[in-house]
Amino acid sequence: MKVIYTSSIRSVSLQAGTESTQYPVENVQNEHPRKPFRATSQSATIRIVESGDAEAIAMFSTNADSVKVIVAVGTSVVFGIDENGETVVAGYDETGATVGLTDRGEQPETVEYSYTKENENNGVIWIPLSPHGMQRTLDIVCEALDGRVEVGILVAGQVMRFREVEKSSYQEVPLDFSIEQELQSGNSYYVDLGRARVIPFYVFMWGSDGDDPAGYNTWREFYHNYLFPFGRRPKAWLLSERLDLAHYAVWGRVEEMPKTVMKGSHMLVSTTIREIN
């Protein structure tokens, strides 16, 4: 189980494509899947400056069919190399006219990650990253096969990793907010107001001093670095690393503070994640 618990994104801008005026690119950071970023065409490139410690990028409520994360580079234009091996940046021809410079566009592209949708992904894309160590700019090229590309949530940050949830404790309880009334005919008048999952589960975390020998994050780290600073703010969760992330990656919040029971050196943590969509 993973959760992206910090935000490494320093700034967001639109590198390519145009945004719909009502749905600007800054909306990807507002924690509301229903206040999305919408482009006016099939593809757009979201440029993020990330602080260098991001271990994953997660996108929710997006219709992107392919996503590429590219390390952005500056463009430079070089005319050539003279006989001494020095770079020439400008020059004159034999008539004295200035010689123009053209960017031939042959820049090396470092593609950090490439994703193409193969099966239904429920609008969720989870991209693992290796922390770079230094601030860098990433271009996230999003393309939809049809219509206008849209991204509801984009988060990138450090990841806390825990054991898989205890399967026997894991439940998914969809809540339906719809209303229904009876018409004169006896038929139902149904207004669909959507659904969200409420997911209670237990998970074991190391509860004693020091690091978890198995390498996961500990209960104390979860409490002091996640629960205490962030409380019930929505975060990107990956509830199972082994199963299909289209279902198990959830944008949600801790529904109420976890209950814990110490079992040996471990803490049995009982909590509930409520999906926000």
């Binding site: 009502q22 749905y23 229903r34 206040k35 006016t40 009334q181 018409l183 004169q184 005919s185 038929n187």
Partner: protein, 400 residues
């Protein structure tokens, strides 16, 4: 109109507002440089009040549901709703609760169609610049203009319900509450005025309303008013708010009126204003309510009265003034107050945008002991945005 001359480059997002007229106060000086045109178009998108055409675009079909509330202060406007609605505009879900908003007449025999109940409660961060979509003012403005629309899933566009004023009722940690009003008017009419001479040229009901519209700065639409307007005969003893007087005079003459977009629509209660067929039992909810008020035996106005013969055990219905100086209107009032009344609850798709005073609903109710066809003339409407229900009420006549 602003003449931009040749516009080059491209405007990425265009909304057709028609001719831009009137004054754009509070706007910056853009000059007319081509690069600024896109910014100007963006400013227009953000600053002009959302019109019906702005809430209606083909791509909205199928999405969006419930109340769409376009709210404006003196300097800003925002699109608010109960849940975030991703339409061609983004309507932000900052309305915590909205009570059913009810528009009704002050009497069963006419008057000025007004909001009789309604409150909207916003989350406090809708104001004070807390979020990108908040109003920047704090404290929240004492009054706001609001246009109420209702969108149904699967329907193209949103139905405009009415324009109102929100008057601040309370501020707390948990919410900011506003009461809903139909905008009203502060003009008064003085004491000792004879309505007959004030209502030039001939002192009739229509002349009275022409004069009222003149004073209030409205245009009169009397196409549905009576073709034979009664002559008014009354002297005012005190100074009064003109709109209140107009409401009483209309009610006395069995007329109703409402004001929309600068037009005052005056309507004879006995005239039909279109029809709505609700014979399909999928178009309304179970159990419409059919009620009768306590019977009225006599209608009394000043020294004149009309006494019916049907309900001698009924009460006296006394009007505050007699505006025509005779009893010619009183039988009409008697008939209306003794008339059956029906309230028909219907789904928002059917009812929103369907309320027009005077429109006649033909309803087939097969759940009563005997199948009955009722004709209901629309007089009041209640919008329950939480339950997506509209209740239209009015005088009813039931037949088998």
């Amino acid at each position: 109109m602003y003449d931009y001359g040749a516009i080059t480059g491209s405007v990425t997002e265009s909304f057709d507002y028609g001719a831009i007229t009137g004054s754009l106060s509070g706007c910056e000086d853009y000059g007319f440089i081509v690069d600024d045109i896109v910014d100007y178009a963006v400013w227009i998108c953000e600053s002009l009040k959302a019109t019906d055409s702005a809430a209606v675009v083909p791509e909205d079909e199928g999405e969006g549901d419930g109340l769409l509330l376009a709210v404006s202060s003196d300097t800003e406007y925002r699109n608010f709703s109960v849940d975030d609605q991703v339409l061609s505009f983004l309507w932000h879900g900052v309305v915590m609760e909205v009570d059913p908003v009810k528009l009704s007449l002050p009497t069963r025999h006419g008057g000025f169609l007004q909001v009789s109940a309604g409150q909207v409660r916003f989350i406090p961060s809708a104001f004070g610049g807390v979020e990108a979509w908040s109003f920047s003012a704090w404290p929240p403005p004492k009054e706001l203009d609001a246009t109420f629309r209702c969108k149904s899933t699967g329907q193209q566009g949103a139905a405009k319900l009415f324009e109102g004023k929100l008057y601040r009722e309370s501020i707390s940690e948990k919410d900011v509450a506003y009461d809903v009003y139909i905008p009203s008017y502060t003009e008064t009419i003085g004491a000792n005025i004879s309505l007959a001479s004030w209502s030039t040229p001939s002192g009739t009901l229509i002349n009275f309303f022409e004069k009222v519209c003149d004073v209030l700065g409205l245009t009169l639409d009397s196409s549905k008013a009576t073709a034979d307007p009664p002559a008014l005969d009354h002297n005012l003893s005190n100074e009064r708010l003109l709109i209140d007087l107009a409401s009483e005079v209309a009610a006395f003459c069995c007329h109703l009126f409402w004001i929309a977009d600068g037009i005052l629509y005056l309507q004879d209660m006995s005239v039909s204003n279109g029809s709505l067929n609700l014979k399909n039992p999928n178009d309304f909810f179970r159990s419409p309510a059919y009620t009768d008020e306590i019977p009225v035996n006599r209608v009394v106005a000043g020294t004149h009265k009309f006494e019916g013969t049907e309900y001698p055990y009924g009460v006296d219905y006394t009007l505050s003034a007699n505006y025509t100086g005779d009893d010619a209107q009183l039988q009409g009032i008697y008939d209306l107050v003794n008339s059956q009344w029906a309230e028909i609850p219907m789904p928002a798709e059917v009812g929103c945008g369907g309320f027009v005073p005077g429109k006649e609903i033909t309803l087939l109710d097969t759940r009563l002991a005997v199948d009955s066809v009722s004709t209901i003339t629309m007089r009041s409407v209640s919008y329950d945005f939480t339950k997506r229900k509209v209740i239209i009420g009015g005088h009813c006549s039931m037949e088998t």
